[in-house]
Symmetry: C2
Subunit: 168 residues, 2 copies
């Protein structure tokens, strides 16, 4: 079994965390994974923050409609994209994905909470002191899983095609 | 050393391929990695195609301004997103990232070629017979690397912050 494949395939969105600290080494490595994401023209148009202070986690949780569980996570990452880079949304989504997989490679669960197109994006930006030239793309609360949910995925024939598409 | 982390950190964008076929097992596994990407509200708003016919690879390469090397790849994946899903660009970017990492876990190199916001997105969509409700997000030519480029990345202090941002 290919371990890289296993890490990617086994990842689930985790919203419930054990009361355990994540080591600096793991956070460091996961951030490096994010920073090494593919990025158009090597722009790397991101700022990536690590929030651990309880009071700040609660403030962010209060703002995020689908992210109330951020208050219960030992850490929350925040990824901001530089608005004037054409592919900032793709690039920051790639970085978010690599961050999540980097955490999961260590058994740390996390969940992508939307930032871009959310009413609270601007408030989170101000809260964390980020320059106006950037906008919130994602919030990623993380912790050791209290439970790992099961998932329902579409059938392969619904989403995959070879050479040329023909409707199912 | 954590193998999952190593896979993620060692990935590079590969644009030059050896003349060797990629096995069905690898393509199958990499597509599963893409299909298991995080997706808002479990929408999975994607169609993912695998193109291997030389003539089609050449047609796509001719269209893609920064993707001329698609013609030299043994395979090219094409990821399309459902326009009416709010987070289709984030979701399809996550799927593209997981596809690329899944290939790399097997030593197969690839390169993210932009689709969204490109003038040729509509032409590639028509070429592959994709319904109008979808739009091209990315093209991912892949093959065993003839060479793996080095990269220049920003310094950690340029892109990372803890608790609250303060300009460098």
């Amino acid at each position: 079994m290919n371990i890289g494949i296993t890490v990617i395939k086994s990842r689930r969105s985790v919203r419930s965390y054990r009361d355990a600290t994540i080591s600096e080494e793991i956070i460091h490595d996961a951030l490096d994974c994010a920073a090494l994401a593919p990025t158009a023209l090597n722009a790397q148009p991101w700022l990536i923050g690590t929030v651990r202070e309880k009071e700040m986690l609660r403030k962010i949780a209060d703002l995020a409609d689908y992210g109330k569980f951020i208050a219960t996570a030992p850490v929350c990452f925040a990824i901001f994209g530089k608005r004037d880079e054409k592919y900032y949304l793709e690039d920051c989504s790639a970085a978010t994905t690599q961050l999540i997989l980097g955490l999961w490679a260590y058994g740390v669960g996390s969940c992508w909470v939307a930032g871009d197109k959310k009413g609270y994006a601007e408030e989170v930006r101000k809260l964390l002191g980020i320059p106006k030239t950037y906008t919130l793309i994602s919030l990623v609360p993380a912790g050791y899983p209290a439970e790992v949910p099961t998932i329902q995925k579409k059938k392969r024939e619904e989403i995959l095609f070879s050479e040329r598409f023909s409707a199912p």
